[in-house]
Amino acid sequence: MAALTMHYTVDGNDFTLAGDCSSKVKKSLTQLGFDPTTIRKVAIAMYEGEINMVIHANGGFIDVSIEPDKIVAVLNDHGPGIADIDKAMQEGFSTASNKVRELGFGAGMGLPNMKKYSDEMNISTKIGEGTIVTLTFYTKKIR
């Protein structure tokens, strides 16, 4: 099977829409017959990443490629970049606004959650230019 690819735009101005891409990807993976555990991991990690793109980076693009043995999601934004990745990865570290906290996010658990639920996570970031987070998930065979 050739890789199936999907491209999504993440609107950086509308918090209510955040998660829409992850929702669509979850639906596609379900239709393709991936196992629920894999689907859940992908959905959660992507969703946290998508939220970050909206609350920290003014939106961007997500590219997902689905292969028989792995799913790769590349989250690409042109936000401020991450100054200290080690610090950003710490549970509880957050620069989110109070407004975001009131909505249930901004607890500094997003990046740790993404790491926890993906098999590989790579962050490439440049101050003032943006951030690319690549999430890889190894999957069981499609039925």
Binding site: R40, G110, N113
Partner: protein
């Protein structure tokens, strides 16, 4: 525990998902922190929360959480109820605050290790 029992115990109003009231839940999680829910919640859990924004529905969707109970009499907007309906998520609203709602469900046997 059946969702209809949850409804009775919490004296809750069902906002959407009447057709699922015969379904079972195994455990519950009470939280206003969606990232915590995303980090820790197990399968077939019911979510109790005081938040009523669309990201609560999305969090439930990602986690395969099928039921959300809004506490302290909170009522989400119709658009949010519609969103849940489309995703087959049951919504209820109870006047009890989070702590009391969790306590009532727990003392009635939901997620209680001794009773399982």
């Amino acid at each position: 525990m059946k969702l209809s029992e949850v409804q009775n115990i919490l004296n809750a109003t069902v906002l959407t998902g009447h057709e699922f009231l015969n379904n079972d839940v195994n455990t519950a999680c009470g939280s206003d922190l969606m990232s915590d829910v995303l980090a820790f919640v197990k399968d077939k859990a019911l979510l109790l929360t005081g938040l009523i924004n669309p990201q609560v529905i999305r969090t439930a969707e990602m986690m395969d959480i099928e039921t959300i109970v809004f506490v302290r009499g909170k009522q989400p907007e119709d658009s949010i109820i519609g969103m849940a309906k489309m995703k087959n998520i049951t919504l209820m609203s109870t006047d009890y605050p989070l702590f009391v709602a969790c306590g009532l469900l727990y003392s009635n046997g939901l997620g209680n290790i001794k009773n399982n």
